[in-house]
């Protein structure tokens, strides 16, 4: 409560830290850009940046879904498998019905993702299974279903109709469609989280589930909803994935859940829920994309990729924990000093 009363008198520490969190990522990004461009001038070319942006478009879409889940103190480890299953189901459908309009294919993927996310949501709310365990279970169930659906085969590039492949490749006003999709999702999620009642309830649940319940927020329904939304975004991303890479393998997007968690956590989303912003997550995705791109450009073996990801996640959560603990201590001290007055 101290922070509310003090906001008028002094610059709020927490607000400052929140601002610092995003500037922090920007500084790290600039440092990496400077260091890598000194070694390889190609890094700073528009072509390369276009590549980086295209590479993180799908990641940022799924990471924003993951963010909504994490904001409620949950986690969705099944997104990689949902992408894989959606890509396979829609890929097969498009292969067998070349006349299927791409928009319908996209809707199909989103619908499938919603259903799969709905199962996660039911397990968490009705079944009261902890999210990490529920989605660890569905991670393997959905991935196993990919194999059942595909019967072990791939969907090859030459079997996918050109219209479907073009969905992610063509451009509007010089901007690739893939980036437009990502931008639309980002704007939609930002508006939803920041300006709707439901969005604010998501933050409230993450900050204090008990208080949220007491305040009359339908916690279970909101939890169910965030899993459906995360599933929907992952399902849509699966279709874009199939379109972009023009092929679907059985292990499509396997392990991708880790990158979405990394993008969110690096972007300043508190893993205990309750705080995090859309611009932060976009910056987090960008940072991961730049690191991956830089590793390739400075000829570091791609086998380092996973280790670097793990390290980045750990660094982000450790730094966050240290900062927020110092802040809490400072706030508690000030609250005590203010108390007698």
């Amino acid at each position: 409560m101290a922070s509310v009363t003090e906001r008028a008198s002094r610059p709020n520490l927490l607000l400052l830290a929140a601002r610092f969190r995003e500037t922090g990522i920007v500084v790290v990004i600039l440092l990496i850009v400077a260091a890598v461009s000194l070694r390889t001038p190609y890094f700073l070319t528009p072509d390369n940046f276009r590549d980086i942006l295209l590479n993180i478009a799908i990641l940022s879409i799924v990471a924003l879904g993951q963010t909504m889940v994490i904001l409620t103190r949950s986690i969705d480890l099944s997104v990689g498998s949902i992408i894989g299953l959606s890509a396979m189901v829609v890929g097969l459908a498009v292969r067998d019905n070349p006349d299927l309009p791409p928009v319908l294919a996209l809707l199909m993927g989103i619908g499938l993702g919603m259903a799969l996310g709905g199962i996660n949501g039911l397990l968490v709310t009705l079944g009261r299974v902890p999210p990490i365990i529920a989605t660890l279970g569905t991670l393997s169930v959905y991935r196993g279903l990919v194999l059942v659906v595909s019967k072990g085969q791939w969907v090859d590039a030459y079997r996918l109709p050109a219209g479907f492949v073009q969905m992610s490749k063509s451009e509007a006003l010089g901007v690739p469609n893939l980036l437009l999709f990502a931008a639309a999702v980002a704007i939609g999620v930002a508006y939803f989280l920041g300006h709707t009642r439901l969005g604010r309830e998501i933050y409230a649940i993450g900050s204090n589930p008990t208080a949220a319940q007491l305040a009359g927020i339908p916690v279970s329904q909101v939890l169910f909803l965030v899993f459906v939304l995360s599933g929907a975004l992952a399902g849509g991303a699966g279709v874009l994935w199939a379109s972009r890479f023009a092929a679907v393998a059985n292990d499509t997007a396997s392990g991708f859940e880790l990158q979405t968690v990394a993008a969110a956590v690096v972007g300043g989303v508190n893993i205990f829920g309750g705080s995090g912003t859309v611009p932060g997550v976009l910056l987090g995705s960008l940072l991961l994309g730049i690191i991956a791109n830089a590793l390739t450009l400075v000829h570091i073996s791609p086998f380092w990729q996973l280790a670097v990801q793990g390290l980045v996640i750990l660094l982000a959560v450790v730094v966050d924990a240290l900062i927020s603990r110092r802040l809490q201590r400072a706030l508690a001290l000030r609250a005590r000093r203010m108390a007698p007055a």
Binding site: R128, I132, I133, L136, G137, L145, W304, I313, V318
Partner: protein, 338 residues
């Protein structure tokens, strides 16, 4: 040794309690399922009940079983370790690389064990010093350790281990049909069961899982116990990695990928409460053999491994939902009888 009434199923079961504890019933249920599975498998294959066959069946899941022992303790303490399979890979790769660099195979194995212990120590310190949830820490090290393994060897395979080393994965106790991996597991079960059920350390593990805050106020060295648990998990994961190296006679960076799912499934299916404070080693051992039997039966029916994971995933979810429902019912009865 005092036998105080506590959360432990085993001690509680010996008391003249009106209510039979859920854990006892859970373990009975596991035994029934195990027998049903045996009947089913015997029906599918007439060779199933052959003694040699039964012993050989166990070899497929002993590495996971060895990791499940410390995992049970970690989950009872209210924590989780998602990095075990990655620790396994890192240790296996370090051992393989050192061996190929000319180290003595046992010295290389010792180094592999040390790497596992260090990996566990890093997990433990991040959880206790930085006060991060074990879930987040081990999700990060899950990527880091596997990533390091793959950074060290890329997509190369390491092989050429000598026969006296491969024995620990492929051999039999001399003059018996008992595979060495099973023997190693049985030798380890006893100290882990004693540690959890018959020592003050074990009592404290339950206590931390039931109420960590209260333990801290009571002066329990919570952090030290947690670090020890994570080091144990690292060490056992490393041992499992060495056993896999020995069993396959070769190793790659993706060795044991996905093991954490099977291990956690077995522990939870064994009746360990995912929120901590409850569970027994006996239940975990029964669950391990049940899952092993299930996978064996599916393999007999030519079910592909990836589809088998569907069954394991479903089992994991059911293993959580079912006891919750049973507990809700027995809780209701307790209210009614009071």
């Amino acid at each position: 040794m005092t036998m105080t009434p506590t959360a432990s199923g085993r001690t509680a079961a010996r008391e003249p309690s009106i209510l039979p504890t859920l854990l006892l019933r859970w373990e009975t249920l596991l035994i029934v399922l195990l027998l049903l599975g045996a009947v089913g498998n015997a029906y599918l294959s007439e060779n199933f009940l052959d003694v040699t066959n039964l012993f050989n069946m166990t070899v497929d899941f002993m590495e996971k079983s060895i990791i499940a022992l410390p995992m049970a303790l970690i989950i009872v303490s209210g924590n989780i370790d998602l990095s075990v399979a990655s620790t396994l890979a890192l240790s296996a790769i370090v051992m393989g690389v050192l061996f190929q660099a000319g180290w003595n195979v046992w010295l290389a194995s010792l180094a592999g064990l040390a790497v596992g212990a260090l990996a566990g120590l890093a997990n433990g310190l991040l959880v206790t010093r930085v006060r991060l949830p074990s879930l987040v820490v081990t999700l990060g090290t899950y990527a880091l350790y596997r990533g390091l393994a793959s950074a060290i060897v890329g997509d190369e395979a390491l092989s050429g281990f000598p026969d006296d080393f491969t024995t620990i994965g492929q051999g039999y106790l001399p003059g018996t049909p008992v595979p060495v991996p099973l023997a190693i597991f049985l030798v380890l079960v006893v100290p882990f069961a004693l540690l959890l059920h018959r020592t003050s350390f074990g009592r404290l593990v339950y206590a931390i899982g039931s109420n960590e805050e209260a333990c801290r106020f009571a002066g329990v060295a919570v952090d030290r116990i947690k670090v020890i648990l994570f080091v144990l998990a690292g060490l056992m994961s490393a041992l499992a990695g060495l056993m896999l190296n020995a069993r396959f006679g070769a190793t790659r960076a993706d060795v044991g990928a996905g093991f954490e799912l099977d291990v956690i499934t077995a522990v939870v299916l064994g009746g360990v409460d995912i929120f901590g404070g409850q569970g027994t080693i006996l239940g975990v051992v029964l669950a391990l053999f049940l899952i092993g039997e299930l996978r064996f039966g599916m393999s007999l029916n030519n079910v592909p491994a990836q589809v088998q994971t569907i069954a394991i995933g479903l089992l994991l979810i059911l293993a959580i939902i079912l006891p919750r429902l049973l507990r809700a019912r027995s809780g209701g009865r307790r209210v009614a009888s009071a």
